[in-house]
């Protein structure tokens, strides 16, 4: 479980990464594999955070924020799942089952995050447009700044609920006797499928490059 200070830090980080997702900068520190590693940093184990981040990122690769499309939100969910999974420090026998549960929780949180983004965008309509007499620069800044503040609060609450909820679930779950190998394999295969799904974005003409890359990856794996 996270300490109160770590929980607060994860919530603030979740808020900041929610802003990065759409509202401010979009430098993509909110991508799941970066966000989950940062969640791991909060509890002092960034590499463990990255481990769950890789799976979440693979399943997020083909998600496109095009136009007014509705999509799952990766940042705050990855922070929460990364922090909780890294803090759990599960023993080897339960590690893959813990990872499986954390990934599933993160996917659910991503879906909730996506829904909350839609709700916020609907609420933002009250700040849209202008009265007939126009707007002063100050009034415009308030109409633009209030939704940004709300987005931060939304992300922080989501990360906070995620840390508390996923943490409680992992603490309560009795994973003794869970088959040690199968969950890890399933998670790895899900990551492979997610990574390969990116090929749909790049187009069929590029399949030979995918195969060449796969051969290079297999060679690297064989050599080490």
């Amino acid at each position: 479980m996270l300490s109160p200070a770590q929980t607060a830090a994860a919530a603030v980080l979740g808020g900041l990464l929610a802003l990065d997702g759409t509202s401010v900068a979009q430098v993509m520190v909110s991508r799941p594999f970066v966000a989950a590693a940062l969640g791991g940093v909060v509890v002092g184990h960034p590499a463990q955070g990255m481990a769950i981040g890789i799976v979440l990122e693979a399943l997020h690769l083909a998600v496109l924020p095009v136009g007014a499309s509705r999509y799952p939100e990766g940042g705050p969910a990855a922070v929460a799942a990364g922090a909780v999974y890294a803090a759990a420090q599960a023993p080897p026998a339960a590690a893959s089952a813990t990872l499986l549960i954390a990934v599933l929780c993160a996917l659910a949180l991503e879906w909730i995050g996506g829904r909350s983004v839609i709700a916020l965008r609907q609420a933002n309509a009250r700040f849209a447009g202008a009265p007939p007499e126009g707007l002063t620069p100050g009034a415009l800044a308030r109409r633009h700044g209030t939704p940004i503040a709300l987005d931060f609060a939304r992300g922080a609450v989501l990360a906070l609920l995620g840390v508390i909820g996923v943490g409680a679930l992992l603490s309560a779950a009795d994973l003794s006797g869970f088959p040690p190998v199968a969950p890890g394999t399933v998670v790895r295969l899900a990551a492979v499928a997610g990574i390969a799904s990116a090929l749909r974005l790049f187009g069929r003409a590029n399949y030979p490059f995918f195969l060449a890359g796969g051969a290079a990856g297999a060679l690297v794996a064989w050599l080490r």
Partner: protein, 244 residues
């Protein structure tokens, strides 16, 4: 005609980072575009607070584009306002460019460049690099294009005004996207193979990995629900086995 100095451009560029801050289903990023334009409109309407209010009100109307290319529109609109173009012409210009700015940016950034940069980061970590090396590689590569697009777009818009269409057609977006797709495809294969590999990987796991990759390619964006269902099944099966 009003000259817009480098200070105005700097402030507009900084403000462009928040263009989607007030995204809503009524005017999309209209308020964000008006927010970017404030420094330019302050110069254009210096000493005319009523004119400034009316101009800001006009620019909160519906607008949409790719967020990184919104700076192109903001720069061109600022140029038109500085040149004293009538409001109707500015409105027509905004309506004309918003579709193409969205399509151009979506294809290059979301479809090609971002997945390619993400796969570079993933590939590095899966190949054994430290977590921060993968994250830093992704952020550097991705943001090299991102920040260039914002800065170049604003400069080009301010310079070319109504002629921005010709500038956009001559920009190397198509070629850049095609190259990113090739590199990204190779990186996807590389990362997928390394994701299968783990110490002691058995032959059936390699075969299962190849099948998973095939399924991922076939499913595309629908891979998320399919993977979630498979993991839920694995969890349920594990729980049953653990109790028996």
């Amino acid at each position: 005609m009003t000259a817009l100095g480098p200070g105005v451009r700097r402030r507009m560029l900084l403000r462009s980072l928040t263009v989607q801050g007030s995204w809503n289903y009524q005017t999309l990023i209209g308020t964000g575009l008006a927010f970017i334009l404030v420094p330019a409109l302050r110069e254009v309407h210096a000493g005319d607070p009523e004119g400034l209010r009316r101009a800001l009100g006009r620019h909160t109307e519906l607008f949409n584009s790719h967020p990184y290319l919104a700076a192109v529109a903001a720069g061109a609109v600022a140029r038109l306002e500085a040149d004293g173009a009538p409001p109707e012409m500015v409105a027509r210009f905004k309506a004309a460019v918003r579709g193409s700015l969205g399509t151009l940016g979506d294809r290059l950034v979301w479809l090609m460049w971002r997945p390619m940069a993400v796969l570079l980061g993933l590939g590095l970590v899966l190949a054994g690099a430290a977590w921060w090396v993968g994250a830093a590689a992704f952020l550097l590569v991705f943001n090299a294009l991102h920040l260039w697009m914002r800065a170049w777009g604003l400069r080009a818009g301010l310079r070319d005004g109504l002629q921005i269409g010709a500038t956009l057609r001559s920009a190397p977006f198509q070629a850049l996207g095609d190259r990113a797709a090739k590199v990204g495809s190779a990186l996807a294969g590389f990362a997928a193979a390394l994701a299968v590999a783990a110490p002691g990987t058995r032959p059936w796991e390699w075969a299962a990995g190849a099948a998973a990759a095939f399924l991922g390619i076939v499913l595309g964006p629908r891979v998320r629900p399919a993977a979630a269902a498979a993991m839920l099944l694995a969890l349920a099966a594990g729980l049953v086995l653990a109790r028996t």
